[in-house]
Symmetry: C2
Subunit: 267 residues, 2 copies
C-alpha cells in the first residue's frame, strides 16, 4: 500500500504483564478505530525495562512464548499489526536478549530482532547482546526494519537497514528524560542520511527512580519531524507515504558511498 | 592548548585568485586581531568552485604550488593557521582532486585531504575522487581532521576520523541554499554521535546561477550549535574547549560499537 497508517503508543510501564496486556488490548482497539494498521510500542513493552536480572530471567520467553501468543490474539482481535519489545530466552545459563518482534494482524510472527548495542550498566546487567545485524522484512508493500533504543544512536545499524532497502525503521525505546538529544538531533539525521522513515516509540512516566522522556517521534526521509509526542501517555497517529520516499531518494547519498574506504569502520 | 580559538570565514567567491588572496590576507589579519589561531575557509576557497573542468585544469597545482605558497606567506605574516580548499594536480591526463589543506602559522603544510565523496554532476565533471580515507593530524594539542562539503553528509568519514581520535572536524564547503538541512540536521548529529566538534565553513553569495547558503556552523560534542552565521559574508569566531570534550566522552557511544556486525557497510 502506498500509505502506512502507523500508530506509536507512548506509555508508562504497567504494574505487571496482565495489566500491560489489558492496556495493549485497549490501545490496539483505539489505534485500529483511528485507522492505524501497525502499532509500535516501547522497549520491553509488557514487562517493564528496569526489572533487574532476576525479573528478566523470570519473564523471558521464546519468541513464540505466552506473551507473544497474547499479543497475537490482540493483533487478530483488532486487525492490527503490533511491534513490541520483550525479554527473549537465550541458551541455558545465558542472559536473555532485549528483543523486539512484529506480529501481523493475522497473528503471524514476521520479524524478531535482538538489540545489538547494549546501553550501560542497565542493559549489561540484564541482557546478552544480539549476535546478528538487523534484517529488513516485508509487510504490506513496505520494507521495514526493527532496532531497539540505543541502536539508533549509532549510524551503523540504521545504515545497514537502509542498504537492505528499508523504507521505515521502527524503534521501540525506553529513553530517559536526560537524553532528549536523541529525538532532537539524532533521529532526523538517521532519516535524512538514509532517506527512510524513522519511528521511535518511547516510554513515559516513572519506573522506580527513572523518568522516561516521551517525545516519541516520526521523522520523514528529508529529516523533517512528521509527528512528536509530549511527555505524557499518548497515541500518535501518522500516515507514512511512499510518495515521500521517491523524491527524497532521487538525491539519495546511498549511491555515492565509498565502500572501498570503509573497512576501518568494522575493525 | 585547552582552547582552540577558531575562525570560520563565510565568504562569496572572488573574481580571480589575486583578489581572493588579497581578501584572504585581510581576513587573516582580522581573524588574528580577534584572537583566532586557526582560520577555516570554504571549499575551493581561492579559485571558485563551479569553474568548469577547463577552469579547474588551468588552476590546479601541486600541494606546494603557487597558491599554497601564497597562503603560507599570509599565514606567516599574520601568525595564524589556515585551512583552505583548492584544486590539486592528479596524474597526467586525470582530473584534479577537490582538496583541502592546512598550513600552519609558521608556513608548514601539515595536512592535505582529497574529497572522497563527489557531489553530483558538478563534482564529477571537474574532479577525480580522492583515494584515501581522511586522516587525523596533530596541531597545537588538538587532533584535527579535514573533510570537504558532501563528505560530512555521510556518517562514515566523520566516524573514521572519530575512531582515529579526532577532537574537531574542519569542513570547507560550498553548500547551496536549497540544502540547509545539512547544517540544520546533519552537522549536530555528526558532532553528537562522534563526540567531536564540527566546524563547517560555507560559501555565501552568488557564483553564476548558484546561490550558496552560508549558515556556517560550529557544533559541539553534545550536538549543540555553538555558532552559526547568517546568509551573508561573515567571520565567525568560536572558542573550542577540550573541557567540553571530556564530559561528552564519558558517555561516548564509540566504545559500544559492534564492529563484528559492520562488515556489510563496507561491501
Amino acid at each position: 500500500m502506498d500509505t502506512l497508517n502507523l500508530a506509536l503508543w507512548q506509555c508508562p510501564y504497567a504494574p505487571g504483564t496482565a495489566e500491560a496486556l489489558a492496556r495493549l488490548d485497549a490501545t490496539a482497539a483505539r489505534a485500529r478505530a483511528q485507522g492505524a494498521a501497525l502499532l509500535v510500542c516501547p522497549e520491553m513493552s509488557l514487562t517493564g525495562y528496569q526489572i533487574g536480572s532476576d525479573g528478566v530471567a523470570a519473564l523471558a520467553e521464546p519468541a513464540d512464548g505466552p506473551l507473544a501468543q497474547a499479543v497475537a490474539a490482540i493483533a487478530q482481535r483488532h486487525g492490527i499489526a503490533i511491534v513490541y519489545g520483550y525479554p527473549e530466552h537465550n541458551a541455558p545459563g545465558e542472559k536473555p536478549y532485549n528483543a523486539a518482534q512484529c506480529i501481523t494482524a493475522d497473528g503471524q510472527r514476521v520479524a524478531n530482532y535482538r538489540k545489538t548495542h547494549l546501553f550501560g550498566d542497565i542493559d549489561r546487567a540484564q541482557f546478552s547482546p544480539g549476535d546478528a545485524a538487523p534484517a529488513v522484512f516485508a509487510w504490506n508493500g513496505w520494507q521495514l526494519g526493527l532496532l531497539v533504543c540505543y541502536d539508533i544512536e549509532f549510524p551503523e545499524p540504521a545504515r545497514g537497514l537502509a542498504l537492505q532497502g528499508a523504507d521505515a525503521i521502527l524503534v521501540p525505546t525506553a529513553n530517559m528524560i536526560a537524553f532528549d538529544e536523541v529525538q532532537r538531533v539524532l533521529l532526523p539525521a538517521r532519516a535524512l542520511e538514509n532517506r527512510v522513515f524513522v519511528a521511535y516509540a518511547n516510554a513515559c512516566g516513572q519506573e522506580g527512580e527513572t523518568t522516561y522522556g516521551g517525545l516519541s517521534t516520526v521523522c520523514g526521509p528529508t529529516g523533517s519531524v512528521q509527528a512528536q509526542g509530549g511527555r505524557n501517555e499518548e497515541l500518535l497517529l501518522v500516515a507514512l507515504s511512499h510518495g515521500d520516499l521517491r523524491p527524497a531518494r532521487d538525491t539519495s547519498p546511498l549511491r555515492d558511498r565509498r565502500t572501498d574506504l570503509y573497512d576501518p569502520l568494522s575493525r
